[in-house]
């Protein structure tokens, strides 16, 4: 769609049904922007003006939101928009070479739209397909297991302008790859089992079971779930529309994590049961599930499931036949922003704003969505709550370790024979996991993604548990032949790309660290740059607004300590080295003057007259 086609009447015709379907509600701005973009291909300036008018927001505010999310575009993109997943595990499976091959086949350049407007190519942060990478997204739909042959075929399909609906179905087939089942993944209950159990127990008794279970949040921070639930239940609602909310955080963006994808694909009833149990327990009538944009292909099945549950009395008024109970669930789609996995940024995004973490306190349990008491739980946490409703708290507490009860899903990828989802009781050793997944010669494991910790071989006897190695679930294995510097470099760029830019240290610091890593990668680094990285790490840890900034240099810190030779062999000297090449800087002058004699070069070293 070009700007020329967008005369006012035609634009209104396209926009009206979209904004009306969303009741012209400014809180649904992100959903409206997504759908308008689906209709127009991108978000032209005139469309932003029209949307702002329709939802009664200042235009600048709408532009500010549109400019925040990676999957929203203010300038035209290709009719086929191809995004290569750029996690380190994709790179280890050849994604860089595959993207080059794709660009060569189609005669296009990364980051630019082809002249006929047909196609554009970029990279994107981890798409959650690490167990079946390398992966890419075409117009938001995931294609795992990309090979050279498939790249060639996809190029042909795009050149022939075949609609995505007519591409071979197997291209879009996403496997669950469940490799080990334990308490969670062995569940085969009918939908609603946990809801009926929770209703039978009653809200207060359900809270007691939650306390006895000692369930801790599975999103990484490990906060005790019953305290969240209890606080939200006791907190006062306020304002004109007093209410409590349950929010399911399905913005699974931590590179290397894909457990929520599997839960939402094959255990959706357990997730919705868990949300409903939370709703009954805290006294909420509304649940919101925030689904990361990368998982948009899961949406139709999830919506169909919600419809089915409404028909079967598992959602809506008179829940399970109880006249005094009501609960319903809405799904919101994200649009490519890792920061929205942070619970307060997620709430901002749910309210249709830029995904910037809030100042805390107040915490969401007292002032969350729309300022009301809100429980924000991870997908896996809510599944565990459903298990506790049925089996009771003591049963759950009997699994795992004392401080880390229950089981934990690990998303295992990298140099292993059997990548996929593993359900383990907490307390399992890293060595055991490595043995089970067939990691032959691992030199390192990145636990809990780039913001987690990097373990070397001498630490493989450590255990997965909050009291030892805490994790949100990512478990990326690096074989002896891998270059740990490249791992850290990938992570540095990830954080620079995903920083929301709110606070100074994270906004500028992550960009400076990424530049430092490029300088070292290009052979211009020195000890000085390593010291700089440490200095910025300390600052980010101390002064950043949220966990993203505070943990942005963790992986660099770990790898610098444990795999220092990977850095040092790239340094030109262990002392200072200028960031630029003096001789290279003269290249433009040489070209203009047509000279290439020795005197037109600047060389350091003996016999050149310039001592290093």
């Amino acid at each position: 769609m070009t700007e020329a086609c967008l005369e006012a009447g035609r634009l209104d015709e396209l926009l009206q049904p979209i904004v009306d379907a969303h009741h012209r509600d400014s809180r649904l701005l992100l959903q409206i922007l997504r759908e308008v973009q689906n209709a127009l291909g991108y978000l032209p300036a005139v469309a932003l003006t029209a949307i702002a008018r329709a939802v009664n927001l200042p235009r600048a505010r709408v532009e500010g939101v549109a400019g925040f999310y990676s999957f929203l575009h203010l300038t035209p993109v290709g009719r086929y928009r191809v995004l290569f997943s750029d996690n380190i595990t994709d790179r280890m499976l050849g994604s860089v070479e595959l993207m080059d091959r794709f660009c060569n086949r189609l005669w296009i350049e990364r980051g630019k739209v082809s002249e006929d407007g047909l196609v554009s190519v970029e990279t994107t942060s981890c798409t959650g397909m690490c167990d079946q990478g390398p992966a890419l997204l075409v117009n938001g739909l995931a294609l795992p297991r990309i090979s050279a042959e498939r790249i060639d075929r996809i190029s042909e399909l795009i050149r022939a302008q075949i609609p995505l609906a007519d591409w071979p179905g197997e291209y879009f087939l996403v496997e669950d790859n469940i490799r080990r089942r334990d308490a969670l993944l062995s569940v085969q209950w009918p939908a609603g089992e946990a809801i009926r159990a929770a209703i039978a127990r009653g809200a207060e008794a359900m809270l007691v079971e939650m306390r006895l279970s000692n369930l801790r949040g599975r999103g990484g921070a490990g906060f005790t779930t019953h305290i969240k639930w209890e606080s939200a239940r006791r907190a006062a609602c306020s304002g004109e529309q007093p209410a409590r909310y349950v929010v399911c955080n399905a913005d699974e963006g931590e590179p290397g994590t894909f457990k929520d994808r599997v839960l939402l694909n094959s255990y959706a009833d357990l997730v919705f049961d868990g949300m409903t149990v939370a709703g009954i327990t805290i006294g909420a009538r509304n649940g919101l599930l925030y689904l990361r944009g990368e998982y948009a292909s899961l949406l139709p099945a999830l919506q169909a499931n919600l419809m089915r549950r409404r028909l079967n009395g598992l959602l809506g008024t008179s829940l399970c036949g109880q006249a005094d109970l009501a609960f319903d669930i809405e799904i919101h789609l994200g649009a490519g922003a890792y920061i929205c996995g942070e619970e307060t940024a997620l709430l901002e995004s749910l309210e249709g704003k830029r995904g910037v973490p809030r100042i805390r306190p107040p915490f969401p349990v007292s002032a969350g969505y729309l300022g009301q008491p809100t429980v924000v739980n991870n997908v896996e946490t809510l599944c565990k709550a459903a298990l506790i409703a049925v089996n009771g708290g003591p049963w759950f507490a009997g699994l795992g370790t004392k401080q880390s009860t229950g089981t934990k899903l690990l998303s295992i990828s990298g140099d292993v024979e059997r990548p996929g989802i593993y359900d383990y009781p907490f307390g399992v050793s890293v060595a055991q996991v490595l043995n089970d997944c067939g990691a032959g010669h691992a030199q390192a494991v990145q636990v809990s993604g780039p913001s987690g910790s990097c373990l070397a071989t001498h630490e493989f006897s450590r255990r997965i548990a909050f009291e030892d190695v805490p994790t949100a679930g990512a478990f990326m294995v690096f074989g002896a032949h891998r270059d740990m510097f490249e791992v850290a470099r990938n992570f540095a760029h990830f954080f620079a790309h995903e920083s929301c830019g709110f606070c100074t240290p994270c906004r500028v610091g992550t960009a400076l660290v990424a530049n430092c890593m490029e300088k070292i990668a290009n052979g211009h680094g020195s000890q000085y740059d390593i010291n700089e990285i440490f200095k910025i790490h300390r600052l980010l840890h101390a002064a950043s607004h949220c966990g993203l900034g505070q943990s942005a240099c963790n992986a660099l810190f770990d790898t610098l300590h444990k795999f220092r030779p990977a850095y040092e062999r790239r340094l030109r000297s262990l002392d200072f080295e200028p960031a630029f090449d003096l001789d290279q800087a003269l290249a433009a002058a040489r070209q203009m003057t047509g000279r290439d004699d020795p005197a037109a070069h600047f060389r350091l070293g003996p016999g050149t007259g310039v001592e290093p």
């Binding site: 200042p58 500010g64 549109a66 400019g67 606070c503």
Partner: protein, 241 residues
């Protein structure tokens, strides 16, 4: 009920329930460096210059509520070193050339750089490409110097009720925008009488034809360093000076 106090670098400072560390310090005329904070607006805590250590934890003084007996470390080598690094980050992120800037001497960023003895920008410059907006008859916007403090955003939204300014983009690409499809200030409801026209701590929002009415050398922070202006009053009152 007895008065409540926080201890800032050992000095007892009274506060009222609900005040932040910054608000208590401002009333007591104790200087905590800051850029995005302004007593007339809701605190936002983004510049992080006011990072202090409260009971051993790094926090933003402008958003952290004061608590009785809280021990606050403010003017220490560790904190000033971190603040200096963040100032350097702000300098290299934009295009700040003080000698050619008509806000030199009135600029809080420059004043804090002197105050915290920042001698060089230290990091490599980003040299972002940020075109000027001279469309408005009364005011020039020079985005090169924007430090993203959002004071103009808050003033225009909360005081002027016009929402002329907002932020777009993300990460290092975050930038100030104006409320017009054309992207030009002239096409917004902005006027020189707005509060937003007078809150910029650096040299982005500039009144036209006023640039050098007061010559460099006789401007606010030329006369007395920024920290002295806050703390000097307190000392003068107590008869120390």
């Amino acid at each position: 009920m007895r008065a409540q106090y926080i201890l800032v670098d050992g000095l007892p400072i009274p506060f009222e329930e609900g005040q932040t560390i910054m608000q208590a310090a401002m009333v007591a005329e104790v200087f905590i460096p800051h850029l995005c904070h302004h007593p007339e607006f809701k605190p936002q805590g983004s510049c992080k210059l006011c990072t202090v250590k409260a009971n051993g934890r790094y926090v933003s003084a402008c958003t952290m509520p004061a608590k009785d007996g809280m021990e606050v470390e403010n003017n220490s080598p560790d904190l000033n070193d971190k603040r200096r690094t963040m100032l350097q980050m702000l300098f290299v992120e934009g295009n700040h050339f003080c000698p050619s800037c008509e806000q030199s001497g009135n600029c809080r960023l420059q004043a804090l750089a002197y105050e915290l003895e920042m001698l060089t920008p230290h990091f490599n410059q980003f040299y972002p490409d940020r075109p000027l907006d001279a469309s408005h008859p009364e005011v020039l916007l020079d985005f090169n110097r924007c430090i993203l403090c959002e004071l103009c955003v808050r003033a225009s939204r909360d005081v002027d009720g016009k929402n002329v300014f907002a932020l777009s983009g993300r990460g290092i690409g975050k930038h100030l925008i104006v409320n017009a499809e054309s992207g030009r200030l002239a096409d917004t409801a902005f006027s020189l009488a707005d509060k937003a026209a007078h809150v910029c701590p650096v040299g982005v929002i500039l009144e036209k034809r006023r640039g050098f009415a007061i010559p460099i050398g006789r401007r606010r922070y030329d006369l007395e360093p920024i920290g002295m202006q806050v703390e000097g009053q307190a000392r003068r009152r107590s008869g120390e000076l």
